[in-house]
């Protein structure tokens, strides 16, 4: 621990975001965090539109990963269907924005999409948790919900499957989804490629900080207690059913937001977002990065998708073999994920150092 970890000049600013439920409660961690955000922010300046366009997709994925790490890592709910909310958010935005092809539509679309995915998650959560569905059954049920959506959206090719001007489009997907924008009518801001990148990055950073504050709050402890032992927690006067319901709903809202960011980047969405491969990706990111580490999950999502992208460019058939093996390897060797392992390394390293203040700056400590 750094000497000034609890009374530096910025300690007051940091306090709401720190606590035993998150890793990285030191000034050097925050230094590294700011540096990492700065690097991400610089990417479009350094590498232009292309980096912005590709990078925004990765960041949207990272946000999806965060939504899972939050509910799985902190509340023990493994949803295999986060993509359901992701996809619903994307489609909902498309439906609204296509029907109202002005900035009003884009603005409404964003609000509507988050509302719809939140409500859907709330409905599903209510249905499951108040119905006594538990553990692995939640996992499989959420997966089945995603697969039902996949099957359902796949057969919406016909013209009758339109909401106003927006064709759902079956497997061919919904095309012509407008860009993000804020405004009324034609006055306002349409968000272009680079703007979109920064919007996505901001959403990710804001969500991360918000969730950090949440998990270190009173509610956060209740979540962790629920994860550790539900019936015990109930005996301490917590309505664990409600806690799970609320957490699941928040997770759905975040996934919905990431879906909007993803869909507006591609101006297109199709049912494959609900498919089993897509459904498994958030689970992969959270497992590899460390589900109890929001930042670890972000890092894993970015890294894995980047590697996958590079493998795709190389055209290698081995991409899936490599990703799959990586997953098996990480879970077997580091059951908690990479970030917690790194944290342990850093902690061990520090405690073996006579002068902890000299420990290398935060970049070492990649976990949150």
């Amino acid at each position: 621990m750094s000497v000034d970890s609890n009374n530096g000049p910025l300690a007051g600013l940091r306090r709401p975001f720190e606590g035993p439920n998150t890793m990285g409660n030191t000034p050097s961690f925050w230094l590294g965090f700011v540096a990492a955000v700065a690097v991400l922010a610089a990417l479009p300046i350094l590498f232009g539109y292309y980096a912005a366009e590709i990078g925004a997709v990765f960041l949207a994925y990272a946000l999806l990963g965060v939504s899972l790490a939050f509910i799985w890592g902190y509340c023990g709910i493994l949803s295999f269907g986060q993509v359901a909310f992701f996809g619903i958010g994307g489609y909902a935005f498309g439906v609204v924005a296509i029907n109202v092809p002005t900035l009003t539509g884009a603005t409404l679309g964003l609000l509507a999409a988050i509302a719809v995915s939140t409500c859907f998650a709330a409905a599903l959560g209510y249905f499951m948790f108040y119905g006594g569905v538990r553990d692995v059954y939640v996992t499989i049920l959420t997966l089945v919900v995603a697969l039902v959506l996949y099957t359902f959206m796949g057969q919406t090719a016909g013209g009758e499957w339109a909401i106003g001007d927006a064709r759902l489009g079956g497997f061919n997907g919904m095309s012509g989804v407008p860009n993000l924008g804020i405004g009324i009518g034609s006055t306002g801001l349409e968000i272009g490629i680079v703007g979109h990148y920064y919007v996505t990055l901001s959403a990710l950073v804001a969500t991360y900080l918000g969730l950090r504050a949440l998990v270190n709050s009173r509610f956060g402890y209740a979540m962790v207690a629920t994860r550790e032992d539900e019936s015990r927690t109930e005996m301490f006067g917590y309505n664990t059913t409600f806690i799970k319901f609320a957490v699941f709903t928040i997770g759905g809202a975040i996934a919905g937001l990431s879906g909007v960011l993803f869909t507006t980047q591609n101006n297109y969405i199709d049912p494959s977002v609900f498919g089993i491969t897509a459904a498994a990706l958030p689970v992969v990111w959270a497992s590899v990065g460390g589900r109890t580490s929001l930042l670890g999950t972000v890092g894993a999502a970015l890294a894995i998708q980047f590697v996958d992208y590079q493998l795709a460019l190389s055209g290698s058939e081995w991409a899936l073999v490599i990703i799959g093996s990586l997953l098996v390897f990480v879970v077997l060797v580091m059951p908690e994920g990479v970030a917690p392992r790194l944290r342990d390394l850093v902690v061990n390293y520090r405690s073996s150092e006579p002068t902890p203040a000299d420990a290398p700056a935060g970049t070492e400590e990649v976990s949150d």
Binding site: E228, D229, S231, E234, M235, F236, G237
Partner: protein
């Protein structure tokens, strides 16, 4: 059979005349069946405010079942539970806790992955925050002799420390009624004595009512004013420890001739 107590009252009656009786808990015809087996058989049970009652009885008599009915872990087949003058039969567990019932399970069930301080935080943040929270944390750790273990992960505590932590957590809720299922099982004589002192203290100093299940009759003797003997789901005897201990029927079904 349940001793039919002429003072058993309906909810309303309790509400109106509560002061006269100072009765904190009362069950009426409480019944729980598992398939063909009646684990709790029409039990009428009553507990005074601040009383420390031990529940003894043969294995399988239905002691744990009875306690689990009180906490809401199990749903009764029939009957009513009144707590502090209110019918709580249909309330979920967490709402019963809000009203002041807390419980320690038969098997230790602390949060093994969390530290002692984090464990304590879960109940404590329900009743205190800010400075009060810090003070209370310290107080409880001191009282249960866990100050040195503050940052120890609970799974690394000894059995006795775990038991103390769990009682401490139940106390943190500032309950008016505490239910303990075999709190000294597997503890050494020394630790058993420590727990006995603790429970007496909780009862005498804090005025908390307690129901304690235990097979260790010496322990029971060292803490309890009155004991209730359950057998085959029903209240078999109720009275002072001496009276119950010397009852030949209790000897026959439960204590054996050594006692």
């Amino acid at each position: 059979m349940g001793t039919s107590d002429p003072t058993v009252m309906t909810t309303q009656a309790v509400d109106e005349t509560g002061e006269g009786t100072s009765r904190i808990l009362q069950t009426r015809n409480l019944r729980k069946e598992f398939g063909g087996l009646t684990a709790t058989d029409d039990v009428d049970f009553a507990l005074e405010e601040g009383e420390l009652r031990c529940l003894i009885g043969p294995n399988g008599a239905g002691k744990s079942t009875f306690l689990n009915l009180l906490t809401g872990q199990l749903e009764p087949t029939a009957g009513k539970i009144y707590y502090d003058g209110h019918d709580v039969t249909d309330l979920p567990s967490y709402e019963r806790v809000d009203r002041g019932i807390s419980m320690k399970f038969q098997v230790p069930s602390i949060y093994e992955g969390l530290t002692v301080a984090q464990n304590l935080r879960i109940p404590l943040q329900q009743v205190a925050d800010g400075d009060a929270f810090e003070t209370r944390t310290r107080e409880i750790l001191e009282r249960f002799d866990l100050l040195a273990e503050r940052d120890t992960v609970a799974s690394n505590l000894s059995h006795g420390q775990q038991q103390r932590l769990e009682i401490g957590m139940a106390m943190a809720l500032e309950p008016t009624l505490m239910l303990l299922d075999e709190p000294v099982a597997g503890l050494s004589v020394e630790e058993t004595a420590e727990i006995a002192d603790l429970l007496r203290e909780i009862s005498d100093d804090d005025g908390v009512a307690l129901i304690v299940i235990e097979h260790d009759i010496d322990f029971v003797e060292s803490i309890a004013d009155r004991v209730t003997v359950l057998d085959q789901g029903s209240i078999f005897r109720e009275g002072t420890v001496e009276a119950v201990k010397s009852d030949p029927e209790v000897k026959r079904i439960y204590l054996g001739e050594d006692h």
